[in-house]
């Protein structure tokens, strides 16, 4: 976690940068949550994420505190599972998403939580998000997972918990803000990724081809 006091440009302000990873079964709404959080948009017919998408969003917790999230939005398909450690390995926080209208998606979420608690950064902050709350607003019979059940599980496992709707924005900002508040803003901990340089890096990693001159065409 890169806590860099003062970097926000405000004297005395705090700026911190954290890595966040979203995990969960496919089609539960991970990308939609990110799209709502980062761009305040929603798309009814969103195609599945291919691979993983990397986005950033900065939020202000208060006048003096700015938190920048570097977000890995992963694809939920089974075939990408083996790549997941690459994304959560250095994550400071994770959002594990399930769909409150799909019972099986909570099971999948639980297995992600287990994997994170076993394999990820020891101090990782995990939030459980039950998405698509808009769908049960009108027809409660669509709900497959009771709020109380999920909440009980979250408490037991030590997770933050929200029922969200990317479609209506319900609890989306709240979810990410709650995570930011739980992150250790004051500790200027060691940077998790040394090669994570913000801004523009003008140096090529290697220079063995420099000066190759005009191409041969």
């Amino acid at each position: 976690m890169a806590s860099r006091p003062g970097a926000a440009g405000r004297p005395g302000g705090r700026f911190a940068q954290f890595k966040l990873v979203l995990l969960g079964e496919s089609a539960v709404g991970k990308s939609s949550l990110v799209l709502r959080f980062v761009k305040d948009q929603f798309d009814d017919y969103r195609e599945s994420t291919i691979g993983a998408a990397f986005l950033t969003q900065t939020i202000s917790l208060d006048e003096n505190t700015t938190v920048k999230f570097e977000i890995w939005d992963t694809a939920g398909q089974e075939r990408y599972k083996s790549l997941a450690p690459m994304y959560y390995r250095n994550a400071n926080c994770a959002v594990v998403v399930y769909d409150i209208t799909q019972a099986s998606s909570l099971d999948k979420a639980k297995s992600w939580v287990k994997e994170l608690q076993r394999q990820a950064n020891e101090n990782i902050i995990i939030a459980l998000a039950g998405n698509k709350s808009d769908m049960v607003a009108d027809s409660p019979d669509k709900r497959a997972i009771e709020t109380a059940d999920a909440e009980a599980y979250a408490r037991e496992a030590g997770l933050l918990f929200f029922e969200t709707s990317a479609k209506t924005s319900t609890n989306v900002k709240e979810l990410f803000t709650a995570i930011a508040r739980k992150l250790p803003l004051d500790q200027a901990g060691p940077r998790m990724r040394q090669n994570l340089r913000p801004g523009v890096d003008l140096r090529p990693e290697t220079s063995n081809t420099q000066g190759a001159g005009p191409c041969s065409c």
């Binding site: 496919s26 990308s31 799209l35 980062v38 761009k39 948009q41 798309d43 969103r46 195609e47 599945s48 994420t49 291919i50 691979g51 993983a52 998408a53 990397f54 986005l55 950033t56 977000i71 939005d73 694809a75 398909q77 089974e78 075939r79 990408y80 790549l83 690459m86 990724r193 090669n195 994570l196 340089r197 801004g199 523009v200 890096d201 003008l202 140096r203 090529p204 990693e205 290697t206 081809t209 420099q210 190759a212 001159g213 005009p214 191409c215 041969s216 065409c217």
Partner: protein, 623 residues
């Protein structure tokens, strides 16, 4: 000079292409045990299609022009009445409209730089190659009543032609308002089953993929409830032939052409009512197969079925359907890139492209395998290692994913995508970094979320690595590129080139009769085309593409010594011209005389020669 891989290597193509079946025009069948074992191949132009008889009126005319070391074979088909059999076995009847003096069939050549290859090299090698590779046996046709014993010279028998009423491309119209509409799910009591089936049958084109065990894997149209019956029939038909040791490749029924590609435990089926040749449809099926390999890799695909032949492949492929469908729809709309197995480049000055190439070279890090800058599906620049070329089929998959399908572009961020590029290596994954740039108002930055980037304007930096952990280093390459290209004003140059659009045919040749043309440079595996301005609606564009498909099929028949093909219909006059160096397909208004067409064709070739280094990406940045 290094260039993009020429997947259209004639010899390879021959080795895998299907020979003709002299006995059965309606059903092309081959002995599977005689099949050459084939590795998964990227789509490649099947230069040999199975035309059995050339147009009866065709003849060769050797160049008489002095000073030509060698010329292309100029066999002009007189199209007054011209019947021939295409590779799909169906009879085509040309009836030309408009008058033409018989002597006008000589296409004047000589203005064009003469191709340096022997004029016989191409076609004679084709002929000497194929027949030995596979032995044909007579097999009964699936549809007995379609079978006729025919002599080899193919007497005209237009009544046999299921396509005869559709010969002219104009007659084939797809209702694009409805073609891509989804078919409603059949509800529980089956009330709308009838409707769903009739909607399904109303589609002009279908693509279906099933496992060898008969499990549905993908269909472009219809839900499982609708297609399960059809899948069952298809599987029965295919396995009927398999049980007798043969494999069914294609057949016609009820005005539709069925083409079957069997690959690694999969059957891919195309059903088309649009006039397309078997080899063109096969190329489309191969592209779909490549997409499946790109998702799974060949060893994974093989493994899944070796563990359990009845595996349901839809689960491992989850999320790939949209990519298959956008490929399928681009084929239905008509894709010059697929037809020609070539890529299009953004027209840029050579000096501008050199700057971009050099910037790419300088940005390179060890982990970078390929780097591409692509504007709306058109290549701007490529950096690649000397020993690895890029395969058009692989790039087609990438461009489809990035520019046709929405998933990646809509994400708005940067993507890190594991994918297999079957042309490069069907056995393993590579990792692709993708970042879309927004070039609006010369204000270069990463595309902001709320921006809808029109397909043609989307500029992507694509960086491919074999190392899955190299996202950060690819990202710093991108940052370097964006900074340097901005500094050298190259991004502005790219933006201007995009905004300028493709030129009109009349911009290229003032006053030309041509409405559109496709020029493929065989050596560069790239093509150039002017804007579609005269063909703005999807329907008009499809008609144009159908004309191109037809021209392409006529000059890519197995025994084609036809190097120039002229055809006239009620709506157009068209010319195809094939040399060892290039393929040119031009379309003009129906009353255009042959001489005017030939004159314009020559002008196009001259223009391309002059502009070659601008319209094609030649060489690229090689390390």
């Amino acid at each position: 000079m290094p260039r993009l891989a020429n997947d259209g290597d004639d010899h390879n193509t021959q080795a895998h292409s299907s020979p003709s079946t002299p006995q059965s025009p309606e059903t092309t069948i081959e002995r599977s045990k005689l099949e050459v074992p084939r590795p998964p191949l990227p789509p490649r132009p099947t230069n040999l299609s199975t035309l059995r008889s050339r147009p009866s009126t065709s003849y060769q005319e050797h160049g008489s022009k002095d000073g030509l070391l060698s010329g292309t074979t100029t066999a002009v088909t007189t199209t007054d009445v011209n019947t021939y059999t295409t590779n799909d076995g169906s009879r085509k009847l040309h009836t030309s409209i408009g008058s033409r003096s018989p002597s006008s069939s000589t296409l004047k050549r000589g203005v064009i730089g003469s191709p340096r290859l022997s004029d016989t090299g191409d076609s004679s090698s084709l002929r000497s190659y194929v027949p030995q590779l596979e032995t044909r046996e007579e097999v009964s046709s699936l549809f007995g009543d379609h079978i006729t014993e025919e002599d080899d010279e193919g007497n005209s028998r237009p009544s046999q032609d299921v396509f005869s009423s559709q010969f002219e491309a104009d007659a084939i119209d797809i209702d694009f308002d409805k073609e891509f509409d989804s078919i409603p799910e059949v509800d529980e009591d089956g009330n709308n089953e009838e409707l769903a089936h009739s909607l399904w049958r109303s589609k002009s084109k279908h693509f279906m993929i099933l496992s060898a065990a008969g499990k549905p894997i993908y269909t472009r149209h219809g839900s499982d409830a609708v297609i399960s019956g059809y899948i069952g029939i298809i599987q029965t038909i295919i396995s009927f032939y398999q049980s007798s040791g043969t494999s069914l490749r294609s057949f016609s029924s009820a005005g539709a052409r069925f083409v079957i590609l069997s690959q690694a435990n999969l059957f891919l089926v195309a059903i088309s009512r649009i006039l397309e040749s078997d080899s063109q449809l096969r190329l489309q099926l191969e592209a779909l197969y490549m997409q499946i390999l790109s998702t799974l890799t060949l060893p994974n695909l093989t493994h899944i079925f070796s563990v359990r032949p009845s595996s349901d492949l839809r689960r491992p492929l989850q999320g790939t359907e949209v990519l298959l469908s956008s490929l399928a729809d681009s084929f239905t709309r008509g894709s010059p890139s697929t037809l020609l197995s070539a890529l299009e480049s953004l027209k840029l000055r050579k000096s501008h492209r050199d700057i971009i190439n050099n910037t790419l070279l300088k940005s390179r890090v060890d982990e970078l395998l390929y780097g591409l800058i692509v504007a709306g599906g058109r290549l701007v620049s490529v950096v690649r290692p000397k020993k690895h070329s890029l395969h058009p089929g692989d790039l087609q998959l990438i461009f489809n994913m990035l520019f046709e399908a929405e998933g990646v572009k809509a994400g708005g961020g940067e993507s890190w995508i594991p994918l297999c590029l079957p042309g490069f290596n069907p056995k393993g994954y590579l990792y692709m970094f993708v970042s879309f740039l927004s070039l609006k108002n010369n204000n270069i930055r990463q595309a902001a979320a709320e921006e809808e980037i029109p397909k043609e304007d989307a500029v992507a930096i694509i960086l491919i690595s074999a190392n899955k952990e190299s996202f950060e280093s690819m990202r710093s390459v991108k940052n370097y590129l964006v900074h340097e290209l901005g500094r050298s004003r190259s991004l502005a140059t790219i933006q201007n080139a995009i905004q300028a659009g493709r030129p009109l045919p009349t911009d290229i040749i003032p006053g030309t009769v041509l409405r559109h043309f496709l020029f493929k440079s065989k050596a560069n595996v790239q093509f150039f085309m002017p804007s579609f301005t005269s063909y703005e609606t999807p329907r008009l564009r499809r008609r144009l593409l159908s004309v191109y498909h037809e021209l392409h099929a006529s000059v890519h028949t197995k025994h084609a010594s036809v190097k120039v093909h002229h055809s006239v219909s009620a709506s157009h006059a068209a010319l195809a011209w094939v040399t060892p160096m290039f393929e040119l397909y031009c379309v003009a208004g129906p009353s255009t005389g042959r001489n005017a067409l030939a004159h314009s064709a020559n002008k196009v070739v001259q223009w391309v020669q002059k502009e070659e280094e601008r319209i094609f990406l030649i060489g690229g940045a090689v390390f």
